[in-house]
């Protein structure tokens, strides 16, 4: 299988080159469904997160993007493949190794209403990871002497300043229900940063927030990765936000990466038929003569959901599918040093707009 490995140098300011902060090498995850059935949730996915860079995993629900992130977070063990942290293969078999890994790789959840504990204050949510990861387990129970002296107050102030919840004193004593959705998500970010990680995995970090504050939150994340040189994985179903926010975009379908490349290129000249469909389906405010207004559209003859078991997983829905697509699953084919797509019919998909728009 052809993969782009770590040869991608995203556009925009700043991602480091050289050894990636976190790297997924051909990771796969199978789930047993019983009766001998196996769900291939993630198949042979590779990508690299560089310090100061943003990689977006884009796909619909069930595409495997969250499972991929959960493997990187150490929540799921890959069925096959390797995860490398700063070049070293990761083994999170022991408790201690897992904690060491978690102090480098942190996860931000989608729903700030569910991910904060309603009975604890903001201070509690932030002090815990600081004690756990920066001071070490000895400092938490108070049994052993702290390995490292940490000025807790200064650390809290630093975190609150980073996510712009200032003055810190006012917010630290509050409970989640006293905060707006945006403020809660800032607390989630601060909690993720409390361990001073090198990698942040953000799973749909703004999709539960109001439209008017999403941009501000994405701008905050963008600012944090630049200032703290974080390597950021941005998981989203919204390919438009990936265009604005990510350096590199990976489009996933049925557990596979079907297209990848620099964000602007993938969104402006999509090559895989699925990426083209995804982009044609996004709401387009400029499309005032839309078929949504008139309803005059040719009846579809393809299903709108579903992945094929054999051949290219998209072949059931693909307007270009032929016999080969139904038989063999295409690997990623290198289109340029930074771009690749997994499709047998790339000669037909051109660089133009979607065939279905």
């Amino acid at each position: 299988m052809t993969t782009t490995g770590n040869g991608v140098s995203p556009n925009g300011s700043g991602p480091d080159h050289g050894t990636p902060a976190l790297e997924a090498v051909a990771i796969s995850k199978d789930f047993r469904l019983g009766r001998g059935q196996i769900l291939h949730a993630v198949r042979d996915v590779s990508f690299s997160l560089h310090s100061g860079g943003v990689v977006a995993l884009v796909g619909e629900s069930g595409s495997g993007k969250s499972t991929a992130a959960r493997m990187l977070a150490g929540q799921e063990r890959p069925t096959s493949g390797t995860i490398r942290l700063a070049g070293e293969p990761v083994s999170v078999s022991s408790h201690r190794a897992f904690r060491r890994y978690k102090s480098q790789v942190q996860y931000v959840f989608q729903d700030p209403f569910a991910s904060l504990n309603p009975v604890h204050t903001v201070r509690y949510h932030l002090e815990r990871p600081i004690r756990l990861h920066q001071i070490g387990p000895g400092g938490f129970g108070g049994m052993a002497s702290p390995r490292k002296e940490i000025d807790l107050k200064r650390e809290l102030d630093r975190l609150m300043e980073q996510v712009r919840l200032t003055p810190a004193r006012d917010f630290l004593a509050k409970y989640p229900h006293e905060l707006s959705g945006g403020q809660r998500q800032r607390v989630s970010f601060a909690r993720g940063l409390a361990a001073r990680p090198t990698v942040l995995l953000a799973d749909e970090p703004v999709s539960m927030l109001d439209v008017s504050i999403r941009l501000e939150m994405l701008a905050l994340l963008d600012d944090l990765r630049k200032r703290l040189r974080l390597a950021l994985l941005y998981i989203t179903h919204d390919i438009a936000s990936a265009r604005y926010f990510a350096d590199e975009v990976l489009v996933m379908y049925a557990g596979q990466v079907v297209e990848r490349g620099p964000a602007e290129e993938v969104t402006q000249q999509p090559r895989h038929p699925y990426t083209q469909l995804l982009i044609a389906s996004a709401p387009d405010p400029d499309n005032l003569g839309s078929t949504l207004r008139t309803g005059n559209t040719t009846r579809r003859d393809k299903p709108v959901v579903g992945a094929a078991d054999t051949g290219c997983p998209f072949n059931l829905r693909c307007p270009l599918a032929d016999d080969r697509c139904r038989r063999e699953n295409p690997a990623l084919i290198q289109l340029s040093p930074t771009r690749s797509a997994a499709c047998w019919r790339l000669d037909e998909t051109g660089a133009g707009p979607s065939p279905s728009s």
């Binding site: 008017s212 919204d238 438009a240 389906s281 405010p285 400029d286 839309s290 579809r300 709108v304 959901v305």
Partner: protein, 337 residues
Amino acid sequence: MSPVLEISDFSVAYRTPSGDVRAVDHVSLSLHPGEVLGLAGESGSGKSTLVYGACRLLRPPAAITGGSVRYRGRRLAPAAGAAELLRLRPDQLRRLRWREIAIVFQSAMSALNPVLSVRDQITDVIHAHMEVSRADARDKAATLLDLVGIPRNRLRSYPHELSGGMRQRVMIAMALATEPEVVIMDEPTTALDVVVQRDILTQIAELRERLGFAVLFITHDLSLLLELADRIAVMYGGQLLEVAAAAQIKSEPAHPYTKGLLNSFPSLHGPRRDLAGIPGSPPDLRNLPPGCPFLPRCASGTDACRDVPMRLEPIATALDPSHVTACPFVLPDEVPA
């Protein structure tokens, strides 16, 4: 043409121990026959409370504190004039609901009954609101599934056996079962993937062309409404801030909040724009400032905004007389850099 649904000066408050929370504050909005009216607003803007209140679907502590909601359907006796929803008796209301005004709820999984098959749920609606035989109701259920593009062999399926998109289609089929004049859609596609969303919305547009019902479409997604709706009403802090044709909202938004919303969507098409979003947080209805609710976040706000009465007025400079806004200080657009 007189509106099929006319909400006038309508207010809803949530009664709490520490006083009333005015969730909808003197809102007037009309839905014309056959049109798609989009109601855009963030969570807590009062958009759902407005519509559910107008249909009298709210329970205490919510209370309607004023206004009127008139319905004028083709099937009502002309002599009777408009039906005043807020004054109907429960039995009258029951005859009007679904038969005349149907709702597609956001969460199909919780709106559908998990222990009834698709066919039983649809025929249940038909029997409750129309006089038809069992056989006719079953035929009708099958026809309805055809209409929304679900294979007939799914009639015996239960909700958990259907995908999210199919469940939402069943909801739409049920709403259309009684041929209503008004269909209210409350974020019907928010939980769905974009490809499925576009497919369902295209289908709604087709059905509207064929059946001629009017749609009141509630969503937080203004970019979707620009493509979908004929007219758009923008709601914030329990009040309407602007109402205009979709093209007008797109090309000449008047209210600073509408402008801010339009500048909050990353666009896939065209050149990358500098996006600003809107600073600050959505308002706390328990603690609204006097005057314009958007003032704390408004870049062009002045002290005078504290004293303005919030009324929708036509914009002097606008070509379209139906374009109204609550902002009396409509400033000329800054020249984009």
